[in-house]
């Protein structure tokens, strides 16, 4: 197969991924935060269009009114604008101008495309490293990650940052080949920074990796080192490290911030102050409530194992088993220290994957980093897991095929076919398991847990977080619409779906006469219908409704695989 054909496979997998995500998101409700990003993204897009069309200039006032403000969350200034701007531009082009998508899909498409890009990048990097078999398996396993498919279908930052994180990793690794202008790594990191603040963790991985591979690459026992003092050796090492691929460092240090600055007009004035505000917001972020192993957590210290256990229960078990196998293979190869390693191997790709995983998940072992949102906050670990899984699958298949080929009856031709068949069988079974989990998880993937946990019911038994962001309300809208008065308005206590209510009305999922009753007890007292989204800390909403409605009986309970996720109450006749 030609190199072009190999690349085409990657593009095809990327396209399939984007289509899967787009198709899946149609059944996913609108997340609470997503509404904020859509609204601000639409305004950011208008501003950029206005700038290009020369409708306005780059004045402090216009930038502040669109991207900033005096308060920490004014115009959503606490989150960088890249994805929001893309959401807004996409909706304007695809929905408002061309009319080829719905409003929500228009907003969400950039995330879906970026998820396809992730699959492509994983494929291309692994193809370059270990060949087409590894690459296809790794790409398919990235595609078949239930929670990632869910997040990639939202107009949010969690799936996009995974893509741009990995893009930075890939660009950095390529930049280590000694090219003259490794600009890609700086731009990729800048775009990652412009997506989510967690990109600030990337230099930890890249820095450690750079020092190690630079030290590995320095000449040993060269002229002048024999008998040199410790200080002289240290200076020589420092020179070797700095001089190894210094353009990569320059690219990161210069183009990263410049890219961030270029796409974020809020930084165009008083950038130091505004960067400080941005980071301060996240360093002092409120701890939202999050259920983990039967307990509601909303203040440190958090258990050190949250990232470990949550990943264990939210990545398909077969993928995890293959990843453990692959990690074992990598460690064994490292111990063997093959002297004939290629230049690519000397650039330390496995070390880079491991450090990427460590930098992404590491802060969650500290016990002080906010754990709400769970796996979405350390999703950049997933490409590493899938690449390791591909290594495990291919190694296991080749070992098995190699053994079978030693039988006397097996000729060379048959051995080749056997190798292909064994690889297809093993890879197919691992990918199929992941695909089945992904299919079962949607559209309520936040309630889903893998077979190790016992699925959604097992997750509930274990006291794992049920859901967040109120997306599941999408599943009771038809029932609410059916319960509306035939004439006049009906007030609904919409709970965490309140920010999305107007959008649901515009989409025609609820009639315009079904009105959001407002917040908390006052809203409940005004309402005739009420919704409770089941999370442990939301139990209080049930009790507020009981107080007002004088009944504990919901008229309908939406469940995912039998696990309650939304209750609907109707005020009894007085």
């Amino acid at each position: 197969m030609s190199a072009r054909a190999h690349r085409l496979i990657g593009w095809a997998l990327a396209l399939v991924t984007t289509l899967v995500v787009v198709a899946n998101q149609r059944g996913v409700g609108i997340a609470r935060d997503e509404v904020v990003y859509m609204q601000n993204g639409a305004r950011y897009a208008d501003w950029w269009i206005g700038l290009v069309m020369l409708d306005h200039g780059v004045g402090v006032r216009s930038v502040t009114q669109t991207f900033g403000g005096p308060n920490p969350t004014d115009n959503n200034r606490e989150h960088p604008p890249l994805m929001k701007t893309l959401f807004g531009l996409s909706e304007k082009l695809l929905h408002r101008t061309l009319g080829v998508t719905g409003e929500v899909t228009g907003f969400r498409l950039p995330s879906a495309i970026l998820h396809g890009v992730l699959v492509l990048l994983v494929y291309l990097m692994v193809l370059e490293l270990w060949g087409v078999a590894h690459a296809i398996v790794a790409a398919l396993l990235v595609l078949c990650l239930p929670r990632a498919v869910f997040h990639a279908g939202l107009a949010c930052f969690d799936a996009p940052i995974m893509t741009l994180w990995f893009a930075t990793i890939y660009a950095y690794w390529r930049g280590l080949d000694g090219r003259r202008w490794p600009w890609q790594v700086g731009v990729a990191w800048g775009l990652a920074l412009a997506t989510k603040h967690t990109a600030l963790l990337l230099p930890l991985a890249l820095g450690v990796h750079y020092v190690i591979v630079a030290l590995r690459a320095r000449p040993r026992g060269g002229e002048g080192t024999a008998g040199a003092t410790r200080r002289a050796r240290a200076v020589a090492n420092a020179r070797a490290v700095i001089g190894y691929r210094w353009r990569v460092i320059v690219s990161l240090a210069v183009l990263g911030p410049v890219t961030l600055y270029a796409v974020w007009p809020w930084l165009w004035f008083d950038p130091m102050h505004h960067v400080r505000d941005w980071l301060t917001f996240h360093l002092h972020h409120v701890h939202y409530n999050y259920e983990y192993l039967g307990r509601n957590w909303n203040a440190p210290r958090f258990p050190w194992h949250v990232a470990l256990v949550t990943t264990l229960f939210t990545v398909p078990a077969a993928t995890l088993a293959a990843a453990v196998t692959g990690a074992g293979v990598w460690i064994a190869e490292r111990i063997r220290r093959d002297p004939g390693r290629s230049e690519r191997d000397l650039r330390g790709p496995v070390l880079l994957f491991a450090l990427s995983l460590a930098a992404s998940a590491g802060p969650f072992f500290l016990g002080t980093t906010p754990i709400f949102g769970a796996e979405k906050h350390w999703m950049p670990v997933l490409p590493t897991l899938c690449i390791a899984a591909a290594a495990g699958v291919v190694w296991a298949a080749r070992a098995a095929a190699g053994y079978l080929a030693t039988f006397r009856a097996v000729g060379e031709r048959l051995a080749r076919r056997l190798a292909t068949g064994v690889l297809a069988g093993i890879a197919g079974s691992v990918v199929l398991a992941a695909a089945v989990e992904t299919q079962l998880a949607e559209p309520y993937a936040l309630t889903w847990y893998n077979a190790l946990a016992g699925g959604a019911p097992g997750g509930a038994d274990l006291g794992m977080n049920r859901q967040f962001w109120g997306v599941a309300v999408r599943g009771v809208l038809a029932r609410l619409a059916a319960e509306a008065r035939p004439t006049g308005n009906t007030y609904v206590y919409t709970h965490d779906a309140s920010p999305a209510w107007g959008l649901y009305q515009r989409l025609g999922l609820v009639p315009s006469t079904l009105l959001d009753a407002g917040w908390e007890q006052a809203g409940i007292d005004r309402s005739e219908l009420a919704v409770v989204i089941h999370e442990r800390h939301f139990n209080r909403h049930d009790y507020l409704i009981w107080n007002s409605y004088r009944t504990v009986q919901p008229i309908y309970v939406l469940a995912s695989d039998g696990v309650p996720i939304v209750s609907v109450y109707r005020r009894p006749a007085r």
Binding site: A399, L432, G458
Partner: protein, 266 residues
């Protein structure tokens, strides 16, 4: 012979077989898990069984606790607010438990069922026992209570993520709040619970609340409720007959919503 001698150990096939086995197990397990819970028909049948035997005053509980919304959807009309937000289950002589996945409710711990039936995975158990005889309940006596500060309010609120009807106060930091029930009819035991209401103030204010129960100026029971302690039990033996009982509630931080309930039992 040479072919055999050059053949590697069959153990090299094990990782491949293991990956296939795990994958096949996952495919089967995931599909089974997704349909493992009883459906509407089973819940309906179980609810009909309860309705057929239900008597006013019975308590209906569900296990595990996360299935509670489904249970209330079926039988919520037989669960008064007072029962749903009970202090504890001691005053109930008959308890119906609807359980799935082998779970048991904490309210039936240690009890043997008088009757057990399985309705498509929803196990209906009926428990019968001698109930605690409540001679007085501070919630009912609230109108006659006196306070040396803010008066408590009767709330149905969230304490420890569960519903409880209780008397809620927010004492000033460092200043004990004394709530007295004059002439409260006592039995042989006074049993109560205390906890901190509202998950958001529990998050933002991390200090505990404390409650002491005084009888004739002497502390007979105490409880310290931390933000993660939930609904904390306290109890004391009491001399039967009317007595002035004072609940002394303390907090070290503002906006500490301490909620308590207590019953005098025979």
């Amino acid at each position: 012979m040479s072919a055999l001698s050059s053949r590697s150990s069959p153990i090299v096939v094990a990782p491949a077989l293991l990956l296939v086995a795990i994958s096949l197990w996952e495919i089967r397990a995931a599909r089974r898990d997704a349909v493992s819970l009883p459906g509407d028909a089973a819940w309906h049948a179980a609810a009909e069984r309860v309705r057929a035997g239900y008597r006013p005053g019975d308590l209906i509980v569900f296990a595990p606790d996360w299935i509670d919304p489904v249970g209330r959807n079926q039988l919520g009309d037989l669960i008064p607010l007072e029962a749903a937000a009970r202090m504890d289950a001691a005053r109930y002589g008959r308890i119906w438990e609807l359980a799935i996945r082998g779970a048991r409710s904490p309210d039936t711990a240690g009890l043997d069922p008088a009757q057990t039936e399985d309705h498509g995975g929803v196990v209906v158990r009926r428990f019968e026992r001698a109930p605690a005889i409540v001679v007085s309940d501070v919630l009912a006596r609230l109108p006659s209570a006196t306070s040396d500060g803010a008066r408590p309010t009767l709330e149905l609120t969230e304490v420890g993520f569960a519903p409880h009807r209780c008397l809620q106060v927010s004492p000033a930091p460092g200043t004990p709040l004394r709530i007295t029930f004059a002439g409260l009819l006592l039995g042989r035991e006074l049993v109560g619970y205390a906890g901190i209401a509202d998950v958001f103030t529990r998050r933002d204010v991390r200090s505990p609340g404390r409650i002491d129960v005084e009888l004739a100026g002497k502390i007979i029971a105490s409880a310290v409720a931390g933000v993660d302690d939930g609904w904390v039990r306290f109890a004391a033996a009491t001399p039967p007959g009317p007595a002035d009982v004072t609940f002394v509630v303390r907090a070290t931080a503002p906006n500490r919503r301490i909620c308590f309930a207590a019953e005098a039992r025979q």
